[in-house]
Each structure stands twice: as C-alpha cells, then as structure tokens.
C-alpha cells in the first residue's frame, strides 16, 4: 500500500468514526423527542448536541470522506503527483482536532446556538468561553478545508512543482472555473473558440468548480466564526462590545449566502462529478452528452451564488425583489440538476437494474 492509499484510508476511517458519533447523537436526540432519556437530556444539553451534530456530520463525516477520496482520485485521474502530501496530512490533523474542539464546545462548555448562529444569539445567551471554544474549533475546520482546496487547485493547475506560483494557480482557477477565456475570445470576435476547460476530464472540472463554492463557503463561515471569537474574547475580558455593531438581517443574508454554497459545492457538484466519473466506468460507455456537462457544472456554479434567498422567505423585512430573485434562481437548479440526471442516466441505470432483477425473479420463480 502506497502513501496515497494510506492517506485516503486514514481520512475515510476517521470520517466513518465521526459518522458513528453523528449517528448515535441523532438516535439519542430522537429518543429524547419521544420523551425517553429525559434525565440525561435537559433542554440545555439537547440543544448543545443539536448544535454540534451538523458540524460532526458535515465536516467530520462528509467532508473528510470527500477529502480522502479526492486526495486519491484527483492525482490518479490526472496521472500526476499530489501537490503536497505534507499539507494533506496537516489538513487531516487540523480537521480532526477542529471537529473534536467544536464538539467539546457544546459537550463540555455549553455552547448551543444551533448551526444557524443567528445574530446576536451566540454572544448573548451562552458563556463567552463556550463561544470562544466553538469559534476556535470551527476556524480550524475551515482552515483544514481551505488547505485541502489549495492542495487540489495546485495539483490540478500547476504544470510542475517550482515552475509557477500561487498567482498562476489563482489565474488558471478563475479562468477555467468561469470560462473567462471564452468570454475574452467572444469579446475579440473569435468564433468557435474551444474553452481551455475542455482539456480537463469532466470529473476534474467538477472538482475544481465545486471547490470554488466550498472555498467561498469556508471563507464566509470562518469570518463569522472570527466575529463570534472576537465578541467572546471581549466578553471574557469583561469588555462589553455592543451587539448593535452588526445588523442581524445583513448578517443573516451573508450567513445563508455562505452556508448555502456547501449544498451546491459539496452535495450537488462533487456528487455529480463523482458519478460523471463512475457511470462510464461502470457501464463501459461514454457519458451521454459529455460535451455539455462542463457547461452544466458552470451553470450550477453561477446559480449557486444567487440562491441563498430561499432561506429568507419568512423574513418580512427582506426586500421583495430579493425574495423573487431567490425563488427564480432556485428553480434554475431544477434545470441544472435535471441535465445532470440526464447525463449520468441514473434512472436508466436503475431501469436496467430492475429489468435484470425482473428476469432473475421470473426465471427462478
């Protein structure tokens, strides 16, 4: 077993451990909801678990599983070396400790502002030390996520180590993520220009376009964690920072803009990219409509930047025009996801599988 295999396994084994923790927590909360375990679960403790549960599930389980898989698959598909195994190992430890500290912020320190963190609840109703520990844990989580993305971008875009720097990677990333070269060619009147993104396999395009969403997610959420950390630290020093410095509605817009990107980047684009990669391998034929799926991923990426308003439909001070815009763009995801479904032909695979089952039942019956 090589170092890359070991790395991937290390990630996925830890991910499964966090899945187990999240699963047990989920079951315990359900039991409390049917009025069992009432002695253990005071309302305070119940909401502490509910607050850290999504962090354990999303970052401990889902992200670590994705990170392990992509650390292995991306270099393999590109037939390249991983940019930095050291960063990969470091991001493993930062993430593992980050999730553990976030979990402790609830379990040992009493933080219970839920994952929504609506301003100013996290800094008004919980001990400052708990908010500070939560802030440190989540900043570590987002730092690990950003290290992973940097490693992915550098692996994908750097021609060879030492040939070019971070500036080159950033330029390539922006150009390829948003087809800027095609726009430039269009501006110059060049017709039938084939964008550079076509020189990358569909899977890799999904990985870096999805990573754009999740990078923006990590940056936004880290900024929010930093704000909470500053207020909590001031609270520990008995300095009273006024909560009115931050507008709750603008905060909520920024929060949902950043948080929603995880759904598009991690859940939609990464999953779609993985199946774009797997379906041809499994069925032994080219991906249906392979020539347009890169554009579908681009449409997904662009749409994902404008859909956050579906979380604000019950906020009546929110401008109506934003609510309508949010609804229209969210319906746009029906189109991109519909095309993804078409390309990966998952229903058709399901149909084939059912036919095989039917034949088998028929023969054995």
């Amino acid at each position: 077993m090589g170092p890359r295999e070991k790395l991937a396994l290390k990630y996925v084994l830890t991910a499964v451990f966090w899945l187990l923790v999240a699963g047990i927590e989920g079951m315990l909360m359900r039991l409390r909801l049917i009025n069992l375990l009432t002695d253990i679960y005071t309302p305070e403790h119940f909401y502490q678990v509910m607050t850290v549960h999504p962090y354990v599930g999303i970052y401990g389980w889902a992200y670590m599983a994705v990170m392990g898989a992509f650390y292995y698959l991306v270099p393999k598909v590109l037939n390249k070396e991983l940019y930095s195994e050291r960063i990969a190992n470091m991001s493993y430890w930062v993430m593992t400790l980050g999730v553990l500290i976030t979990w402790l912020s609830g379990f040992a320190f009493g933080f219970a502002a839920l994952y929504t963190l609506y301003w100013p609840l996290p800094v008004l109703r919980f001990p400052p030390i708990s908010t500070l520990v939560f802030s440190i844990g989540t900043i570590m989580i987002f730092a690990s996520v950003l290290m992973f993305f940097f490693n992915m971008f550098a692996t994908i875009f750097l021609p060879a180590r030492g040939v070019a720097g971070p500036g080159y990677v950033a330029k390539e990333l922006l150009t390829l993520s948003f087809n800027l070269d095609k726009l430039k060619a269009f501006g110059k009147g060049v017709k039938n220009y084939l964008p550079k993104v076509y020189s990358y396999p569909v899977f890799i395009v999904g990985v870096f376009r999805g990573c754009v969403d999740t990078t923006l997610n990590a940056l936004t959420m880290a900024a929010i964690s930093a704000i909470l950390g500053v207020y909590a630290f001031a609270g520990l020093l008995n300095i009273n920072l006024p909560v009115s410095l931050i507008d709750p509605l603008i905060y909520k817009n920024v929060f949902w803009w950043g948080l929603d990107l995880i759904a598009d980047g991690n859940v939609l684009i990464f999953t779609a990219a993985t199946w774009y990669f797997l379906v041809p391998v499994l069925v032994g034929r080219k991906l249906y409509g392979e020539q347009v799926v890169r554009t579908v991923i681009l449409a997904d990426l662009v749409l994902s930047l404008f859909v956050w308003n579906h979380h604000m439909l019950a906020d009546t001070p929110q401008p109506l025009i934003l609510q309508i815009q949010g609804q229209i763009f969210t319906w746009g995801e029906l189109i991109t996801m519909g095309l993804t479904m078409f390309s990966s032909e998952v229903p058709s695979l399901l149909y084939t599988w059912l036919c095989h089952r039917w034949i088998r039942w028929h023969h054995t019956g």
């Binding site: 005071t42 609506y118 301003w119 109703r125 249906y288 020539q291």
Partner: protein
Amino acid sequence: MYIQQVVEIFYLGLVAVYIVFILSFMWITSRGRRELSTDGGEEAGRGMEKAEKTWLIILIIVAIFGNALMLSPLVPSVNTVIWSKAEPVKTIYITVEDYNFVLPENPIRIPAGVPVEFVVVSNDVTYGFGVFRKDGTMVFQMQVVPGYENRIVWVFDEPGYYTIRSTEYSGPEHPKMVIYDAILVEGGVE
C-alpha cells in the same frame, strides 16, 4: 381535516410529477439512443444532442410553470404580499423579549374575513412568530429579526381560537414560547 387533504393531494401531485418525469425521460432516451461506444476514441461533436435538447426544453417549461405558480395568487402569502395589497383594518403590535411574547390584549380579538396586520419587534435575539390552529396545523409564520419591524398581513377565514408559538430557535428555553388561545377570531361563517 381539510388541511390534511390538501397536504395529501399535494404529495400525490408530487408523485405524479415524478412519474411523468421518469416516463418522459425514458421516452426521450429511447428515441435518442445512440450506438454504444466502448473505445472512447471517437471525437464527439460539441453542441447538445437532440434528445438532450428536448429534455432541456421540458425542464425549462417546468421551471417557468413552477415559478409562475409560486408567484401566483394561488399561494395565500404571495397573494397578500404581491397581488391583493389589501389595507389592514387592524394592526396588532407585539413585542418579544427574554423568551416572552408581550401581547396588547389576551386574547387578541380579530374580525374574520378582513385583512389584519401583525407588527412584531424583538428586543434581543431572533425569534419566530407562528400562528397555529387548535389541531396544531400552522396558519402562517414569520421570522422576528431584532432591530426591525417584522410585518405580516393576514386574512383569517375561520372564527375560533388560535395559538401563538415561536417558530425559530432562540436558546434552550425556546420550546416554552407558546401561548394557547392567544388569538380569538370573531364573526364570519362558523
């Protein structure tokens, strides 16, 4: 009973839409089926394939139809906000602070069949303002964002008592934020 039936019809409708999706998908793919290619060496053309274009058109039609439906007066909250623009005949001011709803009167008396406006203000954190029927089903809800006047206009059709409940987590004592029979809708048809 009425609400439950609406919910059931809605879910059955969703299932029907899903079946139509799968059937149209299978129909299109059976028409546009190409030669199976396993060598991977063939250079495909760039644009969309014909079957895919048809599928895209279906998706766009569904999206346009869905958007129009969700912005139409058929959705009660949309009707109140965008279409009817009815002037409220009564405005009820409610304050929320430290897990408590402060009501102007208990119960709040509201005439049936006319638009009334609720203005809810929070003095600390974000809460929810939800109004529920006696059977536990929800009439409407909105978020109560601190620092803003959160306004909602509603027309109550059915007379009777209604419950007010916070519909947003505001801290560990949030589940206690419920006032039974806080609203009494009077008049109209029993």
